[in-house]
């Protein structure tokens, strides 16, 4: 990485050291609650009065044309972007707008970025080991031992992401799809309550897509999952509830069939394909 890149970096140092943050309270409502959220970039409203709730254990798909604000929405939830107005709550106890990125991450919100980055020189097992919640200071890391608990958790995740057979292989030789699963596995090592997954199946083969669908549906229930995806076939195969985002706010919400027959949605998508034509 060169100097400019390293100076221009936007992500910050994450610390999962403080396990003391009180657990999420979902007894009286959704796990994620966004109300009237607005963000403008130089006067342009990327998110415009967005209202969204995600229930505990839900699997939600978010679709929408390019520039609809899907990635920006995730930036807001993870604390990377601060909204101008609105409320964002995690459970009924945690106001995410008062927290920074590391605090939000340690609350149990995991995010998978579009481009997979796994540690290619390390084995699949080691990748998961590094992602595990632990004391990440230098000396504790140096003296850390692979306890039975850690091993059990890694093996559990290996089974979930179906990479148990590849655990001793360097992550560099995995296929594109396998790398995506490994990255999801790395998120799971931190036992998140809410997983945000941005375009997981881009560049995957049909078969890999099917297995990703299996994986994401199997995760729902134990944790809440929000998937942003362009591939309609894929969304149809996993979605229970679909939210359509357009120009920064919710255009429609419901089952895949309901959403697809909604005239406004058709208009947005048709309008887009006419432009492209």
């Amino acid at each position: 990485m060169n100097l400019w890149q390293s100076m221009a970096r936007r992500d910050r140092v994450f610390e999962f050291l403080a396990p003391a943050i009180s657990p999420v309270d979902v007894r009286h409502g959704p796990i994620l609650y966004m109300e009237d959220v607005t963000v403008s970039f130089d006067g342009f409203r990327a998110i415009d009065n967005l209202n969204l709730t995600i229930d505990d254990g839900e699997l939600r798909c978010i679709i929408g044309p390019n520039g609809a604000g899907k990635t920006t929405m995730m930036d807001i939830i993870t604390g990377k972007t601060r909204p101008d107005t609105g409320d964002v709550w995690f459970g009924s106890r945690h106001d995410l707008l008062t927290m920074n990125e590391p605090e939000i991450a340690s609350l149990g919100i995991g995010r998978k970025f579009q481009k997979p980055t796994v540690f290619e020189a390390l084995t699949v097992f080691e990748n998961l080991e590094l992602a595990m919640t632990a004391d990440k200071r230098v000396i504790p890391t140096l003296t850390a031992r692979l306890t039975g608990d850690v091993r059990d958790r890694i093996e559990e995740v290996l089974t979930m992401i179906q990479l148990a057979d590849q655990q001793a292989q360097p992550a560099g030789i995995l296929s594109h799809g396998q790398k995506q699963w490994l990255e999801i596995g790395m998120l799971l090592m931190q036992r998140p309550r809410l997983l945000l997954v941005d375009e997981p199946v881009a560049g995957m083969t049909e078969q890999e897509m099917e297995r990703t669908a299996e994986l994401l549906t199997s995760l729902a229930g134990k944790q809440s999952v929000v998937v942003v995806e362009h591939d309609m076939g894929f969304v149809r195969s996993i979605a229970r509830t679909v939210t359509v985002l357009h120009q920064g706010s919710v255009l429609a919400e419901g089952s895949m069939d309901q959403v697809q027959s909604d005239p406004r949605v058709i208009e947005v998508y048709l309008g887009e394909s006419e432009e492209a034509a």
């Binding site: 290619e120 080991e129 990440k136 230098v138 890391t141 850390a144």
Partner: protein, 371 residues
Amino acid sequence: MWLSRPFNERSTRLFLLILVLAVTLVTILHLALPPENPLYVSGYTVGLLGKYLCYALLAVAVDLVWGYLGILSLGHGAFFALGGYAMGMYLMRQIGDRGTYGDPVLPDFMVFLNWESLPWYWHGFDMAWFAFLMVLLAPGALALVFGYLAFRSRVTGVYLSIITQAMTFALMLAFFRNEMGFGGNNGLTDFYDILGFDLRSGATRLGLFIASGVALALGYVLCRAIVASKLGRVCVASRDAEARTRFLGYRVERVQLFVFVVSAMLAGVAGALYVPQVGIINPSEFEPLFSIEIVVWVALGGRATLYGAVIGAILVNYAKTVFTGVMPDAWLFALGGLFVVSTVLLPKGIAGVLAYRRKQRNESDTTEVPA
């Protein structure tokens, strides 16, 4: 225990076995054979081999930061030289009143410069424990300050390499100055004894050679222990995807600083053992070119294996000894050529060839097993 982990590794046990055998063999051939015997190892050769072992330890230190952390330090000669100077100061103070001017406290060069008293930073070096502590602390402190500033501002890659070159160059210029109080361009030399043992005696030379072997073994095990720990995996992770590693919650700049300081201290130990064996330390050890040479040893031996660094250091320095005997002026060209050839033909160095052959052998073994 994290420190004992390397002993479970086959490669480390093999390395230690070979090292112990080699040191023992040299010791026996030196002590037991009469000088007429063709297999006799002379005192001169023992000293030469001891020097190679110090270089090997230095190369291991460089491989730790370059191979595993991805930090190409072109200034490790400075840490080596600082360790050497700390040892040199101790050896100077041991001379006592046996110097040319017979001053009981001041080294000859200070008397020559008409200095009245010992500079403050020379105090304590008459005590071995203090001097040996400084062998670790002086390079360690430089690495700590330098690394803190560099890693905190996320300076990596080529920029870091250039600053490390500048660092060693600046130190060279500083140590050349008489006013610095380190003997100027003559450096520190004309030593008499170490811990009461006469440096000119064959037994002391042999002792220093064995001590270098022990230091290499310990340094190697320490580096292996770091590399085989979870911290070692974090190093590799930050080498290949720094931002991702930070994102997982690791303080990459602290990991880099820790490993960099450990590496500098090892380089200091190598320098400290080197000085009594060659009998002199002067500012030429700070030369930027020397630091680049170290990197060539590691590249040739194979990065990120540690034992490759040892092989590379010993082979290149043996070649250098032979070559400079025959054609002294051509050595730099030979070294450059070696580097080019190794990067083109052996991108993973000699260690890479060894690993490849081992893999092939394993594969042919497994194919023989009936399916």
